[in-house]
């Protein structure tokens, strides 16, 4: 921490100010300590808070959830229908392609984006999943993760761009994103089931809540990091704000935004097993069932498949980021 140097002859110097502030702080702490001491001497460990409002506040929140469930049904039903449409389309598309097709396709993409090693890993990993009988589960999980990531990007891009342009919105947004990342997901899973009813839809919703923050944060950061000179130059050529955004800022920020999407995908995969507790299918369900039957082996197989999937997707998206960065550097 670097303190500003005391400026001369300004009535009261900074160090004096610092001392008196410390004195006041010390005095305050002393008074508090004396009160604590007195309270401890009189009541000891028996001292309790004046009221215990936990149950009644909890009941209030329950009432709000119930009210939302009854009165927000039109909204939740609409969201549900859209999400189900995307999910079923994705899943059908993934399962429509016979497995050799998908294996070859992913291996070729890996070869292009990540090199021989990544391609070999992708091939072996996918063959392994198939040979262990987890292909359908894996595709269901993939559909779930892709749906959640697609919707997350749809939310994160506009929100991130707006946050980059508006500092006040950014200041409000930040604690909300912190909350979304740290709030234990079980807290919002139960309301999510009540609103969206069991299955992949509440799972997608819960996954979005957990996975969208990095995409928003890194979109925000990426746009802010575009150098002011470039923005200035673009303006001087007479770009409209829309052109500035779509032709200059977003392309320049693309590597950072892609890094955010990569993080979002990884976090979405991390939610797969938790999502299975609200009835999401796929690998998470396999792990969940194995746990219920105390079969650590089956759980390990399912878990390893999730890891393989995560590594392949991670290398592929990172490959995209790298290609994009190289392009921006003009190589």
């Amino acid at each position: 921490m670097d303190y500003p140097l005391p400026t001369e002859k300004q009535g009261i110097s900074f160090s004096q100010l610092q001392n008196s502030a410390l004195f006041v702080f010390g005095l305050g702490a002393g008074v508090v300590a004396v009160i604590v001491f007195a309270a401890a001497a009189i009541w000891g460990s028996q001292m309790e808070f004046p009221i215990d409002a936990g149950r009644s506040v909890g009941a209030r929140i329950d009432a709000v959830v119930d009210w939302t469930n009854i009165n927000g049904d039109w909204l939740f039903s609409a969201i549900k229908i859209v999400v189900i449409k995307i999910l079923i389309t994705m899943e059908d598309a993934l399962l429509w392609m016979p497995w050799p097709g998908l294996v070859v396709l992913v291996t070729l993409i890996s070869l292009r984006l990540g090199g021989t090693f990544v391609a070999a890993f992708s091939f072996l990993g996918m063959m392994g999943m198939g040979l262990l009988g987890l292909w359908e589960s894996a595709m269901e999980t993939l559909a779930l993760v892709f749906t959640a990531v697609t919707l997350s990007i749809g939310i994160a891009l506009p929100v991130g761009v707006f946050a980059a342009r508006n500092n006040r919105f950014d200041a409000v947004l930040r604690p909300i994103l912190d909350g979304m990342q740290t709030m234990p997901s079980f807290v919002y899973l139960v309301p999510a089931i009540m609103f969206f009813s069991l299955g992949n839809v509440p799972a997608v919703m819960a996954t979005i809540v957990y996975a969208v923050p990095p995409a928003i944060r890194l979109t925000n950061l990426g746009i802010r990091q575009v150098s002011p000179e470039i923005v200035e130059a673009a303006r001087s050529f007479g770009t409209t704000p829309m052109q500035l955004l779509t032709k200059v800022q977003i392309p320049m920020a693309m590597p950072t935004i892609m890094a955010g999407i990569n993080q979002t995908t990884m976090m979405a995969l991390a939610m797969v097993v938790i999502a299975s507790l609200v009835g999401a299918g796929g690998l998470g369900e396999d792990v969940n069932r194995a746990l219920g039957r105390q079969e650590p082996g089956a759980a390990a197989i399912g878990g390893m498949s999730i890891v393989i999937m995560a590594i392949v997707i991670d290398r592929l998206t990172q490959g995209v980021v790298k290609k994009r960065q190289d392009a921006l550097r003009g190589t």
Binding site: V32, Q46, R55, L198, L291, G292
Partner: protein
């Protein structure tokens, strides 16, 4: 840290240090405890201090007995006289549903106050709770549901880690497929599971993601009923009618039912009792052919048998606490008692802790049958 060199900063530090030292001394109950009879204090305060003093003493006793325990058992081995051995803590597994939590609190109050064992709980869910019992991290589980936990139960019995000492919730609600009563009233023709074959009833439960079939929320993955429900659907010839929906967890099943019930939506699913939704919501059971061993062995195409809910203990408990095991053998807590306690909790917005005391205070003629008379009188004396 330049402020330490300045005098005012130093003062502040000294004040803080003195105050903290004082607080630290003051908060230590043993140092203030001997000063009980200070005449300068008002009578009210003296009374408070006395009650505090007693509590500290009992806590101390527990700690001391724990430390001494090893030596005493050695003495017992040599002399072999039945000296009252110091009692070690008995841990109940506190699983995440109401009926077991209430039973735990009732049983714990009895064991602690009637038999003098220190008690504690460890929180868990079906899986972690079961593993904890096998390992001996917990000693008593008041509810093991069979046949749902049959797979893990059989494994544990084979290894000899745990044993059943009794049963609870003997009159439990049979597992069944249920619909909310408002659905049954709107569709008087829908009485049995087989009625779902009729398109007009199947269509009631079709949802956007059920691919044109009736959505039936089935049992928690990994429980035996998941498999059983699949067999039933095949036995009833409902494969093309029913889309079994995995609820992921008990909490998921209950929340889905609760949410649909609030909205007045059509809902079809598997449920058992006593559970919170079974107690609170007005539900109708769909009829199935009556249970028989023969049909169960053939294709499970009939109603569920009543579940066996076992009280299980870790194998280390019977040798060291035979009196508690004897009490658990006499354990007689019915689903009806659970439902009435559940109702009392909902009406008064109270916790399970309060409900346990309410039960002990109001159902004395039932629980006093489970314990010897002298133990019962100790428990009654300990009730608040």
């Amino acid at each position: 840290m330049s402020f330490i060199t300045s005098h005012k900063g130093l003062w502040a530090l000294v004040i803080m240090a003195v105050a903290m030292l004082g607080a630290a001394c003051g908060s230590d109950p043993t140092s203030t405890a001997p000063a009980v009879n200070q005449p300068t204090q008002t009578p009210v305060i003296i009374e408070k201090e006395v009650t505090k003093f007693v509590e500290v003493e009992t806590e101390k006793q527990v700690e001391v007995t724990k430390e001494v325990q090893v030596e005493v058992t050695k003495v017992v081995q040599v002399v072999a006289t039945p000296t009252p051995a110091p009692k070690d803590v008995i841990i109940f597994s506190d699983l995440n549903w109401d009926s077991i939590q209430l039973q735990n609190r009732i049983a714990m109050f009895i064991v602690e106050n009637g038999y003098g064992y220190p008690v504690d709980t460890v929180t868990g869910n079906t899986i972690s709770g079961f593993v904890g019992l096998e390992q001996g991290d917990m000693h008593v589980t008041m509810e093991i549901w069979l046949p749902n936990q049959q797979v893990v139960w059989d494994k544990a019995i084979r290894r000899g880690d745990i044993q059943s000492v009794g049963s609870s919730l003997d009159d439990n609600w049979q597992s069944a497929f249920v619909i909310p009563t408002y659905v049954a009233e709107a569709n008087p023709g829908l009485k049995t599971v087989a009625d779902l074959k009729k398109p007009e009833y199947m269509n009631l439960f079709v949802t956007p993601d059920s691919r044109g079939k009736a959505r039936l929320v089935t049992c928690v993955p990994g429980w035996e009923c998941e498999k059983t429900n699949e067999n039933k659907i095949v036995a009833y010839g409902l494969e093309d009618v029913i889309d079994l929906r995995n609820p992921g967890s008990g909490a998921g099943l209950f929340a889905d039912l609760e949410g649909a019930y609030q909205r007045g939506d059509n809902w079809l699913g598997y449920l058992w009792g006593p559970t919170k939704p079974a107690a609170e919501l007005d539900l109708t059971l769909l009829e199935e052919p009556e249970y028989s061993d023969a049909c169960w062995a053939a294709d499970q195409g009939c109603a569920y048998p009543s579940a066996a809910v076992l009280v299980a203990v870790h194998s280390s408990l019977p040798p060291r606490a035979p009196d508690v095991v004897e009490f658990l053998r006499n354990w007689d807590f019915t689903a009806a008692a659970q439902v009435s306690a559940e109702g009392w909790m909902a009406d008064n917005n109270e916790s399970v802790d309060a409900a346990a005391l309410w039960y002990l205070a109001n159902q004395q003629d039932i629980w006093t049958q489970m314990v010897p008379a002298d133990v019962a009188s100790k428990i009654i004396a300990a009730l608040p």
